[in-house]
């Protein structure tokens, strides 16, 4: 039976924000496999957090893999097992320290775009793997990372995110 772990931006900070420059990417967060188990991303959920916005705007999110070295820095994300009988997660990850427009330090190599999703500035959105074969996978011990990038046509939109990995 696989072990499923959830992560949430709230474990680092209340709000993340897209760039102050329209259509400019920020490398918000990354996931990196541990030495002993593969890290399978099976879902990301995002939520635009506009307050009292009077026009419609959208946020886009992209999933990319750095293929030579993994991203680093930021503040560590906490991985909570959905069934607390599971052992501790071996995957690690981080999000930009202090929230807002802060980013992690991007890895190197590629990056390869492996997925994406979006949401309205005050609405929900996300991506869920169509089936287990379609999970975004990094093998155990790989010195690579899967990163979440944000972008929006309107500058500085707030959001938060949650996700699930399988090990």
């Amino acid at each position: 039976m696989p072990f499923v772990y959830a992560f949430a931006s709230k474990t680092v900070f209340e709000n993340y924000t897209t760039s102050g420059t329209p259509n400019t990417e920020i490398d918000v967060a990354f996931l990196k496999p541990g030495a002993t188990r593969a890290c399978n991303l099976q879902g990301i959920r995002v939520q635009g957090k506009a307050a009292a916005l009077v026009t419609l705007s959208g946020l886009a999110f992209r999933l990319k893999q750095w293929t030579t070295t993994a991203s680093s820095a930021g503040t560590a994300l906490a991985f909570g097992p959905v069934d607390n009988r599971a052992p501790a997660a071996v995957s690690t990850g981080a999000a930009g320290a202090g929230g807002g427009t802060n980013a992690v330090t991007s890895g190197t190599g590629g990056p390869t775009i492996v997925g994406g999703c979006g949401c309205g500035a005050s609405g929900p959105g996300g991506w869920v793997s169509a089936n287990p074969d379609s999970n975004i996978i990094l093998d155990g011990g790989a010195t690579k990372s899967t990163d979440l990038f944000s972008s929006s046509g309107s500058a500085s939109l707030n959001f938060e995110f949650w996700g699930e990995i399988i090990e």
Binding site: A6, Q42, A50, L53, D83
Partner: protein
């Protein structure tokens, strides 16, 4: 075969409300195991209930697993079987008494953030477990003794209601 039970905020009140302070959490719902089956949350739906709102606003919801004791203070209810042939539930819920910004309490240890989702102030939203392995699980002894649903919004005092499904096996 698992047994599936539903619950609704309307068990207790017509409307629940996010905090009167921006980005401040309130737990309107606690789920806990009252017997020795494996009890899993498999879905939550929410609906923003704004009336006459003239700007776009957001509610976020988070699922938190308590690691020592469950939230049991509030108004207690039994989730109802989806198939009426099912035996009595062992999972129970508590709801903030009287609705509005009322909260449940009593949880301790952790909590660990184990999920989240959101909705617009006048729109639906929710979360469904990707598969059975992804169900947040509560057990009467050890594991997570309880899971809370926590609300938050950047704009204070937004109305909503919610419902959910629990699987026991």
């Amino acid at each position: 075969m698992p047994f599936v039970y539903g619950f609704h905020s309307k068990f207790e009140a017509e409307t629940y409300t996010t905090s009167g302070s921006s980005n401040t959490e309130i737990a309107p719902l606690g789920i806990f195991a009252n017997g020795n089956r494996v009890c899993s949350l498999q879905a939550i739906t929410v609906q923003g209930k704004a009336v006459g709102l003239t700007s776009l606003n957001t509610l976020t919801f988070r699922l938190k697993g308590w690691t020592t004791t469950a939230s049991t203070v509030g108004s207690a209810y039994d989730p109802q079987p989806m198939d009426n042939r099912a035996p009595a539930n062992v999972t129970r819920i508590v709801l903030g008494t009287g609705g509005g910004p009322a909260a449940v309490s009593g949880g301790s240890g952790g909590p660990k953030l184990i999920g989240g989702f959101g909705c617009l102030a006048s729109e639906p939203g929710g979360w469904v477990s990707i598969d059975g392995d992804g169900n947040p699980t509560v057990l009467a002894f050890g594991n997570y003794p309880g899971i809370d649903l926590v609300s938050s919004s950047g704009t204070p005092s937004l109305d909503y209601e919610f419902s959910g499904e629990i699987l026991e096996r």
